[in-house]
């Protein structure tokens, strides 16, 4: 009968109701458990599964010479890895890989037989090798791309550029000095993945990718650098010298056009080298300059009117006693003019000039020329050299310093000081980086020539230039003469201190030549330093010819013609 419920029917309904309530209760409990109690943990787990956090890093900035020629840049190159656990036949894989990677077959097989899930087989190989491997498509062998700093010119300018490490951080040279500008922007991005692990679309898709590092444009000229390195290397090899340095600067601006250091090294392969090899000796190593220091002594004497070019000095026939020690000249000289003292590089004449100046005045001028202090060039590792205060000078110091002893200088300090004479007496700050630009080419920083101070008057600089021209026309630097050009310069031959005895060595010398050309309107100031040449060690013999060869080629390259010099000379009349 309808509407009437019998006993068993009602009880079934109750049972159903209870079952349903229990079911829904269970679902409700589960929901509360998942959505409320475990919500935080499960959300985090889900995020881990479908989101991927990736750190993107912009490429390291490029370094170019003053004409835009690339000297250092970042390139993505393939690295090859193996998954030993996924390999069925390691021997066969090694046989295929060996000719491509140029690694011995047994070496590869040994790696592939390891009980590991990942092994590197070859890192940062050539792109062609990666492409060949991809074509082979071997099971259990993979290729990933890694950023590598590349120096396409090999050893060219290596001591200035320095190098970056495996993690892309600047470790030496400009790479280290300009790390903050060269380094690309780092940014962490969250990527969404689908069920197959493919990236769907990143959160913040509209965001710009991380910016690459800034690009540096140097004052260095690749061709001048090559000429300097080639000539230096040839000379160092020929003279069986320990090493050498050539620095070429633009006297008007202080811009460094070339900085060559021997022995050279390849920044693409520094792993096997010691720090001694990549040290930039042009600014980290000090040496006693010897006679090149007479340029500064002469400048001070002329400026202070202690000497005139025609002032007569007695050469003491090649021997003079100072503070119970004897000063020698390389040849016996009687009465000579002050100009001849410089041109013939008389130690006795220089000592007398220094004595005429006095300790305080000489010290003041040497400081003013930049000795005993860093030039503040934009390269790491520069030392200040050694210039003692007059209160620490001994009885012989005035004479010694006047002839380039008892003073420690760097090649960069010396070329800067002589460039000041070439620049009408104004000392400029040397620099290597001319411009910093962002990835769009917008100028971030422009380095303008910076005057440090006036050291001597233009008149003194011109008078000294005439005297220094005499060094090359009929003095010790005759081998530096460049046909068709007026060259001003000074030779220097310094004995090195023997570390075993603590006295001057009779076999170890530093031969140098520093000068500028064309003397009437200098385009280049250059120093050539040859460390411990064997055989003839005179600066005039070993270094002056290098100055001539480099100077001649560079003037040709810069398009400075001999006709121009005639016009300049005529205009000055």
């Amino acid at each position: 009968m309808a509407g009437v419920t019998t006993g068993p029917s009602r009880s079934r309904r109750y049972v159903m109701l209870v079952v349903l309530l229990c079911g829904f209760g269970g679902i409700l409990f589960r929901l509360v458990n998942l959505q409320v109690l475990q919500a935080a943990e499960l959300t985090a787990r889900a995020d881990r599964q479908h989101q991927k956090s990736v750190t993107f890093e912009g490429a390291r900035g490029t370094v170019t010479d003053r004409h835009g020629k690339v000297l250092a840049m970042n390139v993505e190159v393939p690295s090859v890895f193996g998954v030993p656990t996924a390999l069925e036949n390691p021997s066969l894989a090694a046989r295929h890989l060996s000719p491509v990677l140029h690694v011995r077959r047994d070496e590869l097989e040994k790696k592939l037989r390891q009980d590991k899930s990942f092994v590197w087989l070859a890192r940062k190989v050539e792109p062609e090798q990666g492409q060949r491997l991809e074509r082979l498509s071997l099971e259990g062998i993979g290729v990933v791309m890694e950023g590598r700093r590349f120096y396409p010119k090999g050893p060219l300018l290596a001591h200035v550029l320095g190098f970056a490490g495996m993690d892309g951080q600047g470790l030496e040279g400009l790479e280290r000095r300009y790390e903050s500008q060269l380094q690309g922007e780092k940014r962490v991005t969250i990527l969404q993945r689908d069920a197959l692990g493919r990236t769907v679309f990143p959160k913040g898709l509209a965001e710009k990718p991380p910016a690459p590092g800034h690009a540096l444009t140097l004052t260095i000229d690749e061709v001048i650098q090559y000429i300097a390195e080639k000539e230096l290397e040839e000379t160092v090899n020929h003279a069986r010298a320990k090493g050498g340095t050539i620095i070429v600067v633009e006297p008007r601006t202080g811009a460094i056009l070339a900085m060559a250091v021997s022995p050279r090294f390849d920044p693409n392969a520094v792993m096997a080298l010691t720090p001694d090899r990549w040290r930039n000796r042009a600014l980290t190593d000090t040496y006693e300059p010897g006679s090149t220091m007479k340029v500064m002594v002469a400048a001070a004497a002329l400026e202070e009117r202690v000497m005139m070019p025609g002032t007569m000095l007695f050469g003491e026939n090649g021997r003079m006693t100072v503070a119970n020690t004897t000063i020698h000249d390389h040849e016996k000289m009687g009465w000579i003019t002050f100009a001849q003292m410089v041109q013939k590089s008389s130690n006795i004449g220089a000592a007398k000039t220094g004595m005429a100046l006095g300790e305080q005045r000489l010290y003041r001028y040497l400081q003013s020329f930049g000795f005993g202090q860093r030039t503040d060039v934009d390269l790491p590792g520069e030392v200040s050299g050694m210039l003692k205060s007059p209160k620490d000078w001994g009885r012989r110091s005035l004479a010694s310093i006047s002839m380039g002893q008892e003073i420690g200088i760097t090649a960069l300090q010396m070329v800067s000081a002589v460039a000041a004479i070439a620049n009408d007496g104004v000392l400029m700050k040397p620099y290597v980086v001319a411009e910093v630009r962002d990835q769009k080419g917008t100028l971030v920083k422009e380095v303008l020539p910076q005057v440090r101070r006036r050291v001597v008057s233009p008149d003194t600089a011109r008078t000294l230039t005439t005297i220094l021209e005499g060094v090359v026309t009929n003095g010790t630097g005759i081998k530096a003469a460049i046909p068709g050009f007026r060259v001003a310069g000074k030779t220097g031959t310094a004995q090195k201190i023997d570390p075993r005895t603590g006295t001057y060595s009779s076999t170890q010398f530093v031969g140098s030549f520093v000068g500028y050309v064309p003397a009437e309107a200098p385009r280049l100031a250059m120093i050539v330093v040859i460390d411990e040449p064997q055989g003839e060690a005179w600066g005039g013999v070993v270094s002056a010819p290098v100055f001539r060869r480099v100077g001649e080629q560079v003037l040709n390259y810069l398009g400075v013609s001999r006709d121009d010099q005639i016009k300049i000379a005529m205009a000055k009349l």
């Binding site: 020629k69 690339v70 000297l71 840049m73 970042n74 390139v75 993505e76 792109p127 791309m145 590349f150 396409p152 010119k153 090999g154 060219l156 493919r198 990236t199 769907v200 679309f201 898709l205 690749e222 061709v223 090559y226 080639k230 046909p483 068709g484 001649e552 080629q553 040709n556 398009g559 013609s561 006709d563």
Partner: protein, 105 residues
């Protein structure tokens, strides 16, 4: 009226679903183009390195001397060519050109 409402509702659902699908499709397309861009940039950088390596002065000098048998110019063999607005070459310079050619020959 009811049918219109149902149709409109279905249309809205369709637009919504289509839009979601299209967003995913465009996401894949963007990702593919980005991969392509990275590959092209990589190729450009590799070519740039290759170009820089091949144009290194050291290599050019080596090829010039060893492969082509060239030698550096001797003093007097290099003459600056004047541009039109500059003064013409002097008879002395013309003679130098002649001598330089003679030496070369």
């Amino acid at each position: 009226m009811k049918a219109v409402a149902i149709l409109a509702g279905m249309g809205l659902v369709f637009v919504f679903v289509w839009e979601r699908v299209d967003v995913v499709r465009l996401g894949y397309q963007i990702e593919r183009l980005k991969t392509q861009k990275v590959a092209l940039e990589r190729e450009r950088d590799q070519l740039q390195v290759k170009f820089s390596t091949l144009t290194a002065p050291e290599r050019i000098a080596k090829v010039a001397t060893e492969k082509l048998g060239l030698i550096p110019p001797q003093p007097g063999q290099v003459l600056m060519v004047r541009q039109q607005h500059e003064a013409p070459l002097s008879p002395f310079a013309i003679e130098q050109v002649r001598v330089a050619r003679h030496i070369k020959e």
